[in-house]
């Protein structure tokens, strides 16, 4: 099982996300993460999807995706030339015993403390998903109250773009 990050350019129209996710259910694809956003061209949105599976799953995923009429382009991002980022907000217990560990970890991971009160601290962290995973591991014993992650957004290096690529 490998992980694939797939970028999809879709029409920026109501209901398009539902068409895409309905296909996932219908074809039983398991999605690890999904993000949607507008792009520089207001006609399109970009969906970044992370899936786990084998080569065949990936190929099926791409061809099923291409069959949807609002999907304009589908690209499996090449790991070697792709920058991946994810944002996480995490709320942890703030107590005199845990505080130094949280602060130290936040500093080393270049996380930002975005909220602070006597009993709660909220931390913002951006980076590769593995970095976020590692940070969660450290926070776990310290008492995570709540957390959320955006899912991966990814972009390839170089001058090529989704729109100008064939």
């Amino acid at each position: 099982m490998s992980k694939f990050v797939i970028a999809v350019l879709v029409d920026n129209k109501p209901g398009v996300l539902m068409r895409v996710t309905s296909m996932f259910t219908r074809r039983a694809f398991n999605i690890d993460a999904l993000t949607v956003s507008t792009i520089e061209d207001p006609n399109y949105s970009r969906i970044t999807i992370t899936i786990s599976g084998d080569e065949n799953t990936k190929d099926q995923f791409v061809s099923q995706m291409k069959k949807l009429y609002n999907v304009k382009k589908v690209k499996v991002l090449d790991d070697d030339v792709t920058v991946k980022r994810e944002l996480m907000l995490i709320k942890v217990k703030n107590s005199p015993e845990t505080r130094p560990d949280i602060m130290a970890a936040a500093e080393i991971y270049r996380a930002k403390i975005i909220d602070y009160s006597t009993d709660v601290m909220s931390v913002e962290l951006t980076g590769e998903p593995t970095k976020l995973d590692a940070f969660i591991k450290i926070m776990m014993p310290l008492g995570i109250l709540e957390m959320c992650r955006t899912g991966i957004v990814a972009i390839e290096r170089g001058t090529d773009t989704m729109i100008n690529q064939e």
């Binding site: 539902m18 065949n56 069959k67 009429y69």
Partner: protein, 562 residues
Amino acid sequence: MKLTGSQIVIETLIEQGVTDVFGYPGGQVLNIYDELYKAQDRINHVLTAHEQGASHAADGYARSTGKVGVVIATSGPGATNLVTGIATAMLDSVPMVAITGNVPNALIGRDSFQEIDITGITLPITKHNYFVSDVNELAETIREAFKIAKSGRPGPVLIDIPKDVQIASAEYEKAEVVKAFTDKKAKDKCIEQAAALINESKRPYIYIGGGVLGRDIAPDVMTFAEKIGGYIGCTFMGLSAFPSDHERFLGMQGMHGHYASSMANKEADLVIGIGVRFSDRATGNTAKYVKNTQFIQLDVDSSELGKNIKVDVGVHGDLKDSLERICALVKKDERPGWKEIVESLQAEEKAIAQKAEEATAVPLTPKQVMDIINDIKLDSTVVATDVGQHQMWAAQYLKFRKNRTFISSGGLGTMGYGLGAAIGAAVGSKERAILVTGDGSFGMNLNELATAVSYNLPVTIVLLNNGVLGMVRQWQTLFYGERYSNTVLGRKTDFMKLADAFGAKGYRVATPEAFRAAFSEASESEGTCLIEVLIDKDEFVLPMLPPGGSIDDIIVAKERGE
């Protein structure tokens, strides 16, 4: 010119070459029906008894003519009644445009009377669908729907039009009939790889499906088969795509397929699938199916390549073009060794059939019924079926010489499909259509008898009545210890009175002679006829590959009990 939304609907349909539509009026399509009334000399509307019947009729019309079938229904229950018909069309890749009305935009989302989110409901069972919120986009949306429905691998498209959009006005300008998207041409590399595999092969088996039927390329398949000394079998959906009595044709393969074709598939060292999806009903257990065989798959839909089984060469592109190019590259080879093997398989099949026939004690067998239909029906006659044993008997024994003359719900297996489909076929072909059905399936949508009779449509209904749900019962006999849970109907329906009540001519027969006489008479009569054929409840559909089994587990003969 300025037209209202409902006028635009009708004008765009006519502009797109639509001559017949099927449907049922209701509150939210009143405006469209008002325009249909005014345009009745330019477009024919067939009113069915139920929206489901209308959806199957549009499907049958599309399958028998190759044109896009059109169905119209109102919002809410009208729209949900189309769902089974749309799903049936989706699973069998039938081009269809379904038009539904909806409550006005201002009432959407308020659980208004007969409001339903039909685009949401039909999302996974349409190729695409639309909710038209602006009358200015209406004409273009309808054109796009036709384009999508008939392009590539065809399928159903639904357009939901709220009532205020039907009432509002917009500029309309007549446009050309939309053309399907041009299909991609396969890559040279794939064509070369396919040809190389074929040249190496000693026993090539050509396996054709609905794609060959839709693209109508039997002559190309024939040339190809003759050049490489290959033999041809088909899927259920491929029936009538290739002439049944051609010497290289071995018939349908799979769960209830012909012995010779299923065995030839097993014996082959190379299977060349053309427009097939290697469905579970055709392959049985895929792990055993792929053993020691190489596969080439040609399809216009890239997602089919390797979807169900791993293929050695996938050729994505227009089937006709791919086949022609492969055919040009392969060496001519008669492969006499393969011919010998296939001929012995055919002989075995014959022997099995003969044995079965000798063992028959009942007065009228399904095979005899199909043989008599073969004797009398014309090459151009369309045969529709429902789903169950009768469907498989029709698939096994009926002979076809013309493309699109067999229409049946293959993918979804919709009981109740047949009568609507036969009505659609009769309207489309303007000829007598035959429905082969069973008492179970017929019971599901027999209300459409009213439609057939009212329009005086030439439909001959051959109703194989065994008083049980035969196919399920067969499974119960074989795999559920003869516990006949809810498959013995024991109904008191008098089909002769029923035919009479609906205004159809009824016949009840129990012998081959009586069936022949009734069927001949029906074939030469004017309107709708129902022939009830009494058959034995213990008739089996054979051969049978048990579910999850392989060709090695084939059941060819029934142990006839007391």
